[in-house]
């Protein structure tokens, strides 16, 4: 395979901010055959579950009173410090050195969103009730803007219902910027094909010729759209600019895709992967989605991913019945959050934990360099509500992985002082750890580098 024709993507270079980026770009160039000496990838993954979690005696997300810690609380233990694992969190026990729990953090921007809407800002921290009504860029996209050119796909945006949803009931965690939600993919077959069979059976030469043609056509389409836009009123012109931006973005992608035709597509071990699975089999479905992310990371097809495991306001989809399918609960999954039945709440959280632990274990068991995939992947898992789903403060949060990116694990951290610590501070540390040198994110007031050793 010749990789001589590799050239830097001019647009990405410009977008990335110029010379300062030259080095990582050069690393990216030789990604296809990752040599032993080259720097290993640094990954980020955010995963969301809806309707909060069970926290008896601590409905606001912080423990109340002096009761002993509940065996079925979502939190593995009560006291900040070294982790011990209760029933709910037990699936993570084997991973104790790779997980931390963070108590007392949340996004201020979601406080007033109420109901089930604060999930919208889980990965963005946007202040949707005030000055960021159409949401704002999410943490994965900040990273993808910086380093996304190093992989075949800048990022992978998945969900279980698909699409963007609407404001207040988002079906995606990822946003390119204000008003630019990225529709999540939710059909395993389709995700698999897009990730690993992008040429749909065509030969590389054919694909390249097609892309070249497409690039020229898109130029003409842009002309066409400009003259169309000029005929519109002012408000409509602004509205249609989203179309023009999309065409420009597509041009970039065409350029990018055609560059990537010079890199070989990864061989995928599809053993045990059932991509025909449906919502009727929640465990198989959720694991399949996790498997796809795992494969995307393992093949270095992308380094940044989000997964809306459960979206809020899912009454239009089978997610509404997950707890019925899984546990035989006679009610909507969402009702568990409101009624908090003793016997189902914990079991439901435990089921979720098992799925997430399955994913972490897969990463953990896959060697990479002198460690494993999880060591270089930051995994944030949580919800934008604590116990009762109508509260928007003190999220249940677990951070996993990234041991080789500087994070130290095995602790429950409590941020419950008088002064509220924004969750966005953690985002700053996470971004910095994967070589995205930001000082601020959303409403951050600093960083959470105390989580790093």
């Amino acid at each position: 395979m010749t990789t001589k024709s590799w050239h830097l993507n001019r647009r990405d270079l410009l977008q990335g901010g110029g010379l300062g980026l030259a080095l990582p770009l050069l690393n990216g160039m030789c990604h296809a055959e990752r040599s032993a000496g080259a720097e290993l990838p640094k990954r980020l993954f955010v995963s969301y579950f809806a309707y909060g979690a069970y926290m008896p005696g601590g409905k606001t997300g912080v423990p109340g009173g002096n009761q002993p810690h509940h065996d079925w609380s979502w939190w593995p233990c009560n006291e900040p410090g070294p982790l011990s694992f209760n029933q709910s969190a037990a699936p993570f026990e084997p991973l104790v050195d790779s997980v931390s729990y963070l108590r007392g953090l949340d996004h201020k921007g979601g406080w007033k969103m109420g109901g089930h809407s604060s999930g919208d800002v889980f990965a963005t921290g946007a202040d949707m009730t005030e000055h960021e009504k159409t949401n704002n860029i999410s943490i994965d996209q900040v990273a993808a803007n910086r380093h996304g050119h190093q992989t075949r796909y800048p990022s992978l945006v998945l969900g279980t219902e698909g699409g963007t949803g609407s404001y207040g009931s988002s079906k995606t965690l990822s946003h390119r910027g204000p008003g630019r939600a990225i529709p999540s993919l939710h059909k395993p077959q389709e995700i698999f094909n897009r990730l690993f069979k992008p040429y749909a059976g065509k030969g590389v030469q054919q694909v390249r010729a097609g892309l070249k043609r497409e690039a020229s056509i898109l130029d003409l389409m842009l002309d066409n759209s400009h003259s169309f836009q000029r005929q519109l009123g002012r408000g409509d012109q602004v509205k249609v600019s989203e179309y023009l931006e999309s065409i420009r973005e597509l041009e970039k992608r065409v350029e990018r895709t055609s560059q990537w035709t010079h890199a070989q597509l990864p061989d995928i071990d599809t053993k045990g992967l059932n991509i025909e699975v449906s919502h009727k089999e929640p465990q198989e479905y959720i694991r399949c989605m996790y498997d796809l992310i795992y494969l995307a990371f393992q093949t270095d097809s992308t380094r940044y991913a989000t997964l809306m495991l459960e979206s809020e306001q899912s009454q239009g989809s089978e997610l509404w019945n997950y707890a019925t399918y899984v546990l035989g609960y006679k009610g909507a999954t969402h009702d568990i959050a409101h009624k908090r039945p003793e016997d189902y709440s914990g079991k439901w959280d435990r089921w979720r934990a098992e799925q997430h632990a399955y994913f972490l274990k897969r990463l953990h068991e896959t060697p990479e360099g002198d460690g494993n995939l999880l060591d270089r992947t930051l995994v944030l898992w949580g919800s934008a509500h604590p116990h009762a789903s109508h509260s928007t403060k003190n999220y249940p949060l677990q951070l996993a992985g990234g041991n080789r990116l500087g994070f130290r694990h095995g602790q429950l951290h409590a941020f419950e002082g008088d002064k509220k610590v924004p969750l966005a501070n953690l985002f700053v540390s996470m971004l910095n750890a994967i070589d995205v040198p930001v000082e601020r994110f959303a409403d951050s007031t600093g960083n959470l580098n105390q989580l790093m050793g």
Binding site: K112, N224, F228, S246, K330
Partner: protein
Amino acid sequence: MRQQTSLLSICVLLVGVVAGAQTHAEDSSASRSLASQSKVWPFLQSHCVDCHGDDASKGELSLPGLGDLSRGGDVQQWSLILDKLQSGEMPPEDESQPSEKHRSEAIDWIESQLRIQVGRDAEHARPITARRLTNVEYQNTMRDLLGIDLKLTEKLPNDPVKPYQFNNTAELMRLGPEQINRYLECARSAMASAIVDPQQPEVYKTRREWQPYGREKQLGLDEIGVWGNRRHSPAWGMGLKGFPKTGEFRIRVQASAIFPPGVDELPLRLIMGYGINVNSATQRVQPVGTVRLRNSPDNPRVIEFRGRIENFPPQPGKIKNGERGPDSMAITPQNLYDDGTLNDGRRDLAMPRAVINWMEFEAPVIEKWPPLHHTQILFDSSLRDEDPAEYVRQVIERFVSRAFRRPATPEEVARFVQIYDLVLPELGSLEAAMRETLSFSLVSPQFLYHTDAAPAVALNRSDENTGKNGYELASKLSYFLWASMPDQQLMDLAAQGTLHDPSVIEQQVRRLLADPRSHDFVENFTTQWLSLNKQKTVPINSELFPRFLYYVSAGERRGTEVPYRPTIRDYMHDETVGFVAELIRRNASVLNLVDSDFVFVNQPLAVHYGIAGIQGDQLRPVPVQASDQLGGLLTHGSILIGNGTGSAPHPIYRAVWLREAILGDEVAPPPADVPALSDSAGESAESALTIGDLLRQHRQKESCNDCHAQLDPWGLPFEQYNAIGQYQPLVPQEGVRVSGFQKDTHRDLAGYQDYLRSISTVEVAARARLPHGPEVDGIRQLKNYLLEHRKQDIAENLIRRLLSYAIGRELSWRDRFAVEALVTHSNKHGNKLQDMIVLICQSETFRGSKD
């Protein structure tokens, strides 16, 4: 009150920040001049400020901080205040009331000021109307443009959905690169079907016969029972020996039915896709069509089905020795007879059975080659050889003019000719190059967007004279009433420049509504307006309602719903949509939404509601008496289930539904950090019994009472209908434990019904005093109250919903007086549904131009 909240925050922003298009009338100098300086302040001060003051700002409304209406401040808020005063909702009943004189003075002042603001604003405010097609509109437009019905929405990201709101607005119909990418994929696959290659393709055929072997003992081998599916019977399906990737298919079946006494119709449905004779609920299939058999085996009938092969999912081949085998596909006929006893145990021979003698599959169907959908684009002409360049130009011009729903300009045509010239050398043939070129016309903004723009050249002379764009109106009408592009007749009227004539509009609206394509309007509109979709996922408690859904009776999947067939919930959805369609068809009064002398049901629904003598799966209007406790939307299963928990009714959900969907109020969502209504609508009927008490408790907290006092009374009368939407006036006494169905104790379902009757001895509490209204007991009295006292609100709500859906944006204070005029006019003429739609289409707000 969603709107209210967002506007309040805009107020905060107004100080120095650009507030966006919604509020541009309220310049910052105006908002600094406060309500307290306005004429109406003394009235507000004496009657409102106690609750809506600086400190106490209930409903998040603080009057002292409000901008002065006469200077254009906070107009939307003022418009809401006017609503509250006019309806009498404020001041609350238990507060001292202003004198009629003071009230009407205040109302007059606010109203006249608002009118001034609306007039002032109309000069420079143009609402944003540019928005992309919804997925349904996209698919329908492709169908009407190409002349082939392809299912494309599956390939697009799901459209956003918002409860009680329409998604065809600029806010929600956004576009990103992913969406355009998908459009391009869809367009390419559609063009691959629309334009065929010159040589005739290979035709694939499969035929299978079945013999009546074994009929004397049980189901014959050529029969399909309600439950039964003997191995190798037609119910096992017919695997296809081969099938093309694109093209029309034809399936012919010789069929009849064996009827038990008293039954004379059997719905036979064909589905195609994966084989379903496996123990799995995740096979992918699509319905081909349904026929109703009324003939006996002595008199077999040959039935033909047609469709597009692209719309059916092929099952990927199995991997053998590292190689994937060919994809496969099967056709499976189904017996959909359902008399409500499907869970009562197998009695195949006592039920009607379908008999299939043989079945044939053929694809593609070649009656004419190339097919019509091809020659509609690549038309027959000697030009093709004589002047290929001119031929290409004409093909493009014709196609693009239809795709853009107005004549294409020479520049537009030229640009696509350029694209054609660019791709021809590589793609080789005219067909291939045209597919690619036209695919790109289908991702251009002129195709994807609704706008009111049209280049001057595209308008004809009469348009130029009047400033009225006929093509734009043609599209508005067809997307409103068909969710698709205009047809030739609308385009012709647009070209003639006569479409803006009110009598022409009326005639066209009635024509469009009479066309079957209007089904998509009613379906879309009704589903979103009534928030219908949630009923499909409410988990039904199978212990309490063992007969409602059709469950798998044995094996690994026991207790799960039988897959691959329409369910009673699907029928309930169709019932509601069909009911609204029927009201429009009859041009019936809007009051039918609350009560009607007919329902729209088929056999399974009739059995469910307790109406005797209805056969078959086709929904139809059926007359009912008041004593049937049916009629109107309030008692539809879709509504009652969707607003229940699956175990118990839920008065709050039902109250919210009534106020939002029927009365047109905006009900605020529960605020953050409120305690949930503790274990309310419960796990069992037992705890559901005490819902009244629970609500009473909940209302005792003041933070809850403000909202719930306005809410609960509307929901309590619905308690007469259980979680699956059946009338159930008697319930078990408080504290009596209701057991679910237990085979040992209750023996059979009839036994369980007897048991339920034996413990159901208390009349359900469905009594409530309505806010600003009388006490009502049960749905009947609630309906009577609505019909007598809330007529105006019900009509206004429907007009607002229809208008909002029609113009693709939410209404604001700017539309207040336009709506008022429509309401008055409609009221004068009996508030008939079809007339309402005509009126809306004739309005300036809809047409977007003045007379």
